[in-house]
């Protein structure tokens, strides 16, 4: 097994999960003041909390995925990178769409 492919795939997969996490916690915390308050009380600021949690999730998942057995290939890594691109596009649209609705359409 190519260790370099294993680590690369683990990092890409972890970043996909982290971007889904950032998108979800951004929208959910804005709709749920209790979660936003918890982030603020625990990390001093909700945005700092989201950043720290994201870094921790990325580091832990990258480590776990890199030691777990899995079939990796160049084509598989390329597919994961394409998935990362599309998740980033969708996450960006979801966050801008959500705040567009909240700022301009919600009454």
């Amino acid at each position: 097994m190519d260790k370099k492919i294993r680590i690369s795939s683990a990092a890409v997969l972890s970043s996909i999960i982290v971007i889904v996490f950032i998108t979800a916690i951004t929208i959910i915390a804005d709709l749920n003041p209790a979660l936003k308050d918890w982030l603020k009380n625990t990390f001093s600021h909700h945005w700092i909390g989201k950043g720290i949690l994201s870094v921790v999730i990325f580091a832990v998942l990258t480590f776990l995925f890199s030691i777990l057995p899995a079939k990796d290939s160049d084509a598989g890594l390329a597919k994961k990178l394409s998935g990362l691109f599309w998740i980033s596009v969708l996450g960006t649209l979801a966050i801008f769409g959500f705040y567009f609705y909240e700022a301009l359409l919600a009454v």
Partner: protein
């Protein structure tokens, strides 16, 4: 605003732009038939380092000053949407960038020997990731300009 916060805000903008320049260069070089691995490695590392520094400097300014002193001015202005839409979206979409940058840099450093041959579509996928980092960087920069305009 204190001198330290002014310096941090300027550093956030300059380092952020330098980071985006690094990833734009990666994007353009990856589009070439025979990209130079050494250039890709250095340019992606350049982008990653400046992006992280921009994150830290901007984050300190945002968490300690923006919410208490700038946000109320923007929300009371004729352009409250500058905060409610652009700042809210910018601060969260920005969080994607360090992870995208780490992954792009890591893959380039670990897989650079495969970039001159079309191995499993790897180069094409890296083009997409470098492109989305650059585009998100432009969007975040544009949102920052709007917010700065609203404060004035």
């Amino acid at each position: 605003m204190t001198s330290l916060l002014q310096i941090l805000l300027i550093a956030h903008i300059i380092f952020g732009l330098l980071g985006v320049v690094g990833f734009y260069a990666v994007w353009m070089v990856l589009l070439k038939r025979n990209p130079t691995p050494k250039f890709l490695k250095l340019s992606s590392l350049w982008g990653l380092i400046f992006l992280i520094v921009s994150w830290l400097t901007g984050g300190y300014y945002y968490a300690t000053f923006y919410g208490a002193s700038v946000k109320p001015i923007v929300k009371a202005s004729a352009y409250p949407w500058a905060h409610n839409l652009f700042m809210e979206a910018k601060e969260h979409v920005f969080l994607f960038m360090p992870f995208l940058a780490v992954v792009l840099t890591l893959v380039i450093w670990l897989q650079h020997e495969k970039l001159n041959a079309e191995v499993g579509g790897l180069k094409h996928s890296l083009v997409l990731v470098a492109g989305i980092i650059t585009i998100i960087g432009f969007i975040v920069t544009f949102a920052g300009i709007i917010i700065s305009g609203a404060v004035r």
